[in-house]
C-alpha cells in the first residue's frame, strides 16, 4: 500500500489531479455553508461583472443569480452524477463481461453482440433521446449515462477473465468443487480490481462531460443547478457577458482533467511493469 502511494505521488500529473479533486470535493461539501442561499435565488442586479462586487466574485447571470454560488452547488451535482452513473455502469458491465468471459460459447456470443450494438450506436445522440423521452430528471440522466458507458467495462472484464480462466489457481478451484459463482466472485473478481479501478476514474470523467453536455442542451434536471446548465444559460448572451459561461466551463474542464490525471496515475502505480516498458 505504501509502495503504491509512493508511486502515485511520484507522478506529477496524478498529484495535480488529486489536488484539483480535493478542491472540487471541498467546494461540493461546503457549498451549503459558503452559499446558504439557493443558487436559483435572484441575489443582485443582472449582468453584474465579475471581480467588481464583494460576495459576487464571478458576477451574476442574466437574471441576477450568483455565478459563484451556482458553481459551488454545481460541483456537488457533477461529482454525484459522475460517481453514481459510473457505479451503475460497473454494475451492468462487470457481471455481463465476467459471464461472457467465464462461460464462453453461446453466452459469450450473445452478450458480446449486445455489447457491440451498444458500442456502435452514437452514444451522445442515444443519451439525448433517452433523457428527452423519459423526461429530464436525476434518475433519467444517470440511467442514460450508465446505459451508454457500460460496454467498455464489459469488454475489459471479459478480456481479464479470459486471461485468468486458464491459470492454475482457477483450475485448482474448479477441481476442489467450487461452484462457478464462487469462483467468479472469490477467485476471479479480486484479480480484476486494478484495471477496473483505473477505468472507473476515466469513466467518471466521461460521465461528468456527458452530464454537462446534456444539461447544456437543456436536458438537465430542472430542479438542480449544474455547470452544463449554466454554460447553456449564458450561450445566447456570450457577446455581452462572457463570465456567465466561462467559469462553469472552466470548472468542468478542471474536474474532468482531475479524474483523467488520477486515472493515469493509478494506471502507472497499479501496473508498475507497464510503465517501465513504456
Amino acid at each position: 500500500m505504501l509502495d503504491f502511494l509512493k508511486r502515485f505521488a511520484g507522478n506529477r500529473g496524478a498529484v495535480i489531479g488529486a489536488l484539483l479533486l480535493v478542491v472540487t470535493l471541498l467546494l461540493a461539501i461546503f457549498s451549503p455553508m459558503l452559499y446558504p442561499q439557493s443558487p436559483w435565488a435572484i441575489a443582485q442586479r443582472p449582468f453584474l461583472e465579475p471581480f467588481t462586487t464583494e460576495g459576487y466574485l464571478m458576477g451574476t447571470d442574466t437574471l441576477g443569480r450568483n455565478v459563484a454560488s451556482g458553481l459551488a452547488h454545481g460541483a456537488y451535482i457533477s461529482l454525484l452524477i459522475g460517481l453514481i452513473s459510473t457505479l451503475v455502469s460497473l454494475a451492468i458491465g462487470i457481471p455481463l463481461g465476467a459471464c461472457a468471459g467465464y462461460f464462453g460459447g453461446w453466452v459469450d456470443d450473445i452478450l458480446m453482440r449486445v455489447t457491440e450494438f451498444f458500442q456502435v450506436i452514437p452514444t451522445f445522440a442515444f443519451a439525448v433521446v433517452l433523457v428527452a423521452i423519459l423526461q429530464p430528471s436525476l434518475t433519467s440522466i444517470i440511467t442514460a449515462i450508465a446505459l451508454v458507458s457500460w460496454p467498455p467495462v464489459a469488454r475489459l472484464l471479459r478480456g481479464e477473465v479470459l486471461a485468468l480462466k486458464s491459470r492454475e489457481f482457477i483450475e485448482a478451484a474448479q477441481l476442489s468443487g467450487q461452484s462457478s459463482t464462487t469462483i467468479i466472485l472469490r477467485q476471479i473478481m479480486p484479480n480484476t480490481l486494478s484495471p477496473v479501478v483505473v477505468m472507473s476514474s476515466m469513466m467518471i470523467a466521461t460521465a461528468i462531460l456527458t452530464e454537462s453536455a446534456l444539461s447544456f442542451m437543456g436536458l438537465g434536471d430542472p430542479e438542480i443547478m449544474s455547470w452544463g446548465y449554466m454554460v447553456g444559460a449564458g450561450r445566447t448572451v456570450i457577446r455581452q457577458a462572457w463570465w456567465i459561461s466561462f467559469f462553469p466551463g472552466l470548472a468542468i474542464l478542471l474536474t474532468v482533467l482531475a479524474f483523467n490525471l488520477i486515472g493515469e496515475g493509478l494506471n502507472d502505480a497499479l501496473n508498475p511493469r507497464l510503465r517501465k516498458r513504456g
Partner: protein
C-alpha cells in the same frame, strides 16, 4: 472482398433494425400516451386529433402488430411526420444532412491530420519541451467540454478579433455565387470544424505518440539507425508507416463521437445540420424528429465504419479477417 462487404452490410442492417425496435420501445416507455408522444404535444392536444392519430397508428391493436407496422414503415424510409413543422421527418433530415456531412468530414480530416502530425512530432522528441507541450495540450483538449470551447472560440475569434464569422452556414442575403460562395462557406466552417475535431485530435495525438514509441523499439528500426539513415527518414518511412495502422483502426471506431459532438457544435454555431435539428426538436418536444435523427445518425456511423474498414483493407493487404 464481396463476401466481406455483404457480411458487413448485413450486420449494419441488423443494427439498424435493433435501433428501430429500441425507438419503438422508447415511444412506449415515455410517460403518457404514445399518440401524444408522436403528436409532440404534452397534454394540450386536441382530443379529436389524438383520437385520429390513435386510429392511424393502430394504437388499439396488440403491441406486436404495432411493432411490425412501425418497423416496416421505417424500412420503407418513412420516419413519421413532424406535426410541428408540417413536413415528413425524412424530408427535414435530408435538407439538413449535407451540412452535417460537410462538418463531420472536415472535422475528421482536420483531427486525423493534425493529430497524427502532432503525435509524430511529440514521439520523435520524446521527453523534450516540444513533447511536453504537445502532450499537455492534448491532455487539456481531452478534458475540454466541446460546447464550452466552441463558445470561447466565438468570443475570441468572432466577437473580440472579428476574424471569422461566429454563426451560420453562409452570409445571408450576400448574393455570393461560385467561388465567392465556396470561400464564404469555408470561412463559416473553420471554427465549427476545428472545435468539433478537438477531442478526436487529442485522442489521435496520444494514440500516434504511444504507437510510434512502441514501434521505435523494433529491431528493424535499430537496423535502420545502424545503417546510418537520417533520423527524420527513419521516423517517416519506417516508424510512422507501421505506427499509423492502429490509429486508423481507432479513427474509424470513433466516428460515433463526431456525430454526438456535432449535435453540440451545431447548436453553438447555428450550423444548419441534423444536430441543430435535434436541438430544435428537443425544445419543441418533437419526438418523431428526435428519433428520426437518432436512426439517421446511427446509419451515418455505420456507413463511416464500413468505409474506414474498406480503406484499411486497401491500405494494408495483410488484413484478411472479417
Amino acid at each position: 472482398m464481396l463476401g466481406f462487404l455483404l457480411t458487413r452490410v448485413g450486420k449494419a442492417a441488423v443494427v439498424l433494425l435493433c435501433i428501430t425496435v429500441l425507438n419503438f420501445l422508447l415511444i412506449h416507455l415515455a410517460p403518457g400516451d404514445p399518440a401524444m408522444v408522436m403528436a409532440g404535444e404534452a397534454g394540450e392536444a386536441d382530443p379529436e386529433f389524438i383520437a385520429q392519430l390513435r386510429a392511424q397508428f393502430g394504437l388499439d391493436r396488440p403491441l406486436y402488430v404495432q411493432l411490425w407496422s412501425y418497423v416496416s414503415s421505417v424500412a420503407q424510409l418513412d420516419l413519421g411526420y413532424s406535426y410541428r413543422q408540417n413536413l415528413p421527418v425524412l424530408d427535414l433530415i435530408l435538407q439538413r444532412l449535407p451540412a452535417t456531412l460537410l462538418l463531420s468530414l472536415s472535422a475528421f480530416v482536420i483531427s486525423l491530420g493534425l493529430g497524427v502530425l502532432a503525435g509524430t512530432i511529440a514521439a520523435s522528441r520524446q521527453g523534450k519541451p516540444a513533447d511536453t507541450l504537445i502532450s499537455t495540450i492534448a491532455l487539456l483538449f481531452y478534458a475540454t467540454p466541446l460546447f464550452w470551447f466552441a463558445l470561447m472560440a466565438v468570443l475570441l475569434f468572432s466577437v473580440k478579433l472579428d476574424w471569422l464569422p461566429g454563426y451560420g452556414f453562409e452570409t445571408i442575403r450576400s448574393g455570393y455565387t461560385g467561388m465567392e460562395r465556396v470561400l464564404d462557406i469555408a470561412a463559416h466552417l473553420v471554427m465549427p470544424a476545428f472545435t468539433l475535431g478537438l477531442f478526436l485530435m487529442a485522442v489521435y495525438v496520444r494514440m500516434t505518440r504511444a504507437s510510434m514509441l512502441e514501434v521505435n523499439k523494433h529491431d528493424y528500426v535499430r537496423t535502420a539507425r545502424a545503417k546510418g539513415l537520417r533520423p527524420a527518414l527513419i521516423q517517416r518511412r519506417h516508424v510512422l508507416r507501421n505506427a499509423i495502422l492502429p490509429v486508423v483502426t481507432l479513427a474509424g471506431l470513433q466516428a460515433g463521437q463526431l456525430v454526438g459532438g456535432a449535435v453540440l457544435i451545431e447548436t453553438v454555431f447555428a450550423w444548419p445540420g441534423i444536430g441543430r435539428l435535434m436541438f430544435e426538436a428537443l425544445a419543441q418536444r418533437d419526438y418523431n424528429v428526435l428519433l428520426g435523427v437518432f436512426v439517421v445518425s446511427a446509419a451515418m456511423v455505420l456507413m463511416f465504419n464500413l468505409v474506414t474498414d474498406l480503406a484499411y483493407r486497401l491500405v494494408d493487404p495483410r488484413i484478411r479477417t472479417t
